[in-house]
């Protein structure tokens, strides 16, 4: 039984092929990175997997169930959570109320009453994620929070959803080295807790440090797959990122 599997996924927009015959597999409890130059189709792939776009052809299997073409909210309720590349919180709501929203989902409701009072659950999650407790920060409207906090809010949202497969779309973008260093342990803890993580990233060094497997995409196709060490040496990958050397 495979945990998560994508088969021959294809998506076109008008004349442009954004994702072309992509297939890969993710093992339970692993951390997989997806990298590639800009515009290679990574975010489209995530949108396809999480139900925000319907593929033209191909199948997606989660825990051996076909989730191709399912509604995004339904996929979220099956246990797949995602963050967004463009961080847009619920601006008008205070930070902790941003986290209460997922607590309304059917999945969380299913988990039972012991989950507790929504407000305190939300505040607890925020504290885990790095918001200082007993400060006014969780109560400020999300529109005034700085970028680093907003990224943490995105993560908190998925935690609140109790997802088991977490997909992060360029989580580290816009963060300083210090912020990345403080967020990485959170991701690693997810894996330690038995969750599965897929990370779309541009910050290769940080990703390679924690990933079990890396998939490289270019122009909508997978051009390489393997452990970070193998990928770093792969000629095709270097060419895709850095271009071709001009022969003198």
């Amino acid at each position: 039984m495979s945990y998560f599997r994508v088969e021959n996924l294809r998506k076109t927009f008008g004349g442009i092929v954004a994702v072309n015959n992509v297939s890969f597999e993710v093992k339970k409890g692993s951390l997989v990175g997806i990298i590639g130059p800009n515009g290679c189709g990574k975010t489209t792939l995530v949108n396809l997997i999480t139900g925000f776009l319907k593929p033209n052809s191909g199948r997606i299997y989660f825990k051996d169930k076909d989730i191709t073409g399912m509604r995004a909210s339904k996929i979220a309720n099956k246990g797949i959570g995602r963050t967004f590349q463009m961080v847009k919180p619920f601006y008008r709501l205070p930070a902790f109320k941003n986290i209460i929203i997922p607590l309304f989902s059917p999945k969380v409701k299913e988990l039972g009453e012991h989950y507790g009072d929504k407000e305190s659950v939300a505040l607890n999650i925020l504290e885990d994620i790095g918001f200082e407790r007993d400060s006014s920060v969780p109560f400020k409207p999300a529109s005034v929070l700085p970028h680093g906090y907003l990224k943490r809010l995105e993560i908190a949202r998925i935690i609140a959803l109790q997802s088991e497969l977490l997909i992060f779309d360029e989580l580290y973008s816009g963060l300083s080295l210090a912020e990345v260093a403080s967020i990485s342990p959170i991701i690693e803890r997810f894996v330690e807790d038995g969750k599965t993580v897929i990370m779309i990233e541009h910050r290769l060094k940080e990703l390679f440090r924690i990933a079990d497997k890396v998939i490289v995409m270019d122009q909508g196709e997978i051009i390489a797959e393997g452990s970070p060490g193998v990928i770093m040496k792969n000629e095709k990958v270097k060419k895709a990122y850095l271009g071709v050397e001009l022969k003198r």
Binding site: F13, F52, L53, R71, A72, S73
Partner: protein, 286 residues
């Protein structure tokens, strides 16, 4: 029937062209488009009938005046609302209503208000009688399309139009002032709209209610054809044009107005970015 369909399509294309240009370039959906159309007709009528100026001169004055009004609308109102799409729509819609209802209160109603045809008489094409006026419309339409094509693809101003349409911050960094370009696009859109009004209105009377219909038709054409796509506008005009003619011939002529609206609804449900649209984010439907 084919002939009428063709003519109707070109008429639609003309009407929609002004709206499409403004929206395609500056993303300003000028909901006062219908109002400008009727206004253009009324101004021409005013110069022609009340002041006794020759037709051509009246026409030119009207085009200029409406163009200025459009530019002013941008400069005074819209420029403060840039980026707030919703407020822009509400504002232009409100301005349109103001113009139209003002005209209605001023009593612009009835047979008295009409523009005479340029060339009276008719001829026969492919077995049907066609008025010269209609032929004139077709020629004007095709000419306008050709001129616009050349303008947008081959002149400096035209290219900057396209630049702003695609990404106005980049255009800004290249020294193109998007606000000025947007104002020009609204002006141009209004002028084209007036030209359309001047050639088409002689077919009937000038009526204030038509203002709303014009807006709806332009919306229909642009949405069905896809925004930012000139080919889309043309193709959509033809589809709707023929559909309208067919409806009025075989079903009932009172339902013709329903056709563009129904087509628009259909497209929005199936393919919201339009037939030739390039807005792939609209594909996402949740």
């Amino acid at each position: 029937m084919i002939v009428y369909g063709f003519i109707n399509s070109i008429i639609l294309a003309l009407i929609a062209l002004g709206f499409s240009i403004t929206f395609g370039i500056s993303r300003v959906a000028n909901f006062a488009h219908g109002a400008f159309y009727v206004f253009g007709g009324v101004v021409t009528w005013f110069f022609l009938m009340k002041m006794g100026l020759p037709y051509v001169l009246s026409a030119i004055m009207a085009v200029l005046i409406v163009g200025i009004v459009g530019g002013l609308m941008y400069r005074l109102l819209l420029v403060r609302l840039r980026g707030l799409e919703l407020s822009e729509v509400i504002t232009t819609f409100a301005v349109g209503i103001i113009i139209l209802e003002l005209m209605r209160s001023a009593g612009i109603m009835g047979f008295e208000y009409r523009l005479p045809s340029f060339i009276p008489g008719s001829t026969e094409i492919l077995g049907t009688y066609v008025g010269y006026q209609r032929i004139f419309i077709v020629i004007t339409g095709l000419l306008l399309l050709a001129i616009l094509y050349l303008f947008v693809h081959h002149t400096k101003l035209g290219l900057s139009f396209r630049g702003v349409a695609q990404e106005d911050h980049t255009a800004l960094s290249l020294g193109i002032n998007p606000d000025r370009i947007s104002m020009l696009s609204v002006t141009m859109g209004s002028m084209i709209c007036t030209i359309a009004a001047i050639v088409i209105l002689p077919l009937g009377t000038i009526s204030v209610d038509e203002g709303y219909d014009i807006l709806l038709k332009s919306l229909a054409v642009c949405i069905i054809g896809g925004l930012e796509s000139a080919t889309g506008v043309i193709v959509a005009s033809f589809i709707i044009g023929y559909a309208e003619v067919l409806t009025s011939m075989y079903i009932s002529s009172t339902l013709t107005m329903v056709v563009p609206l129904a087509c628009m609804l259909l497209i929005l449900l199936i393919r919201p970015s339009g037939l030739f649209g390039k807005h792939k984010e609209l594909e996402e439907r949740i």
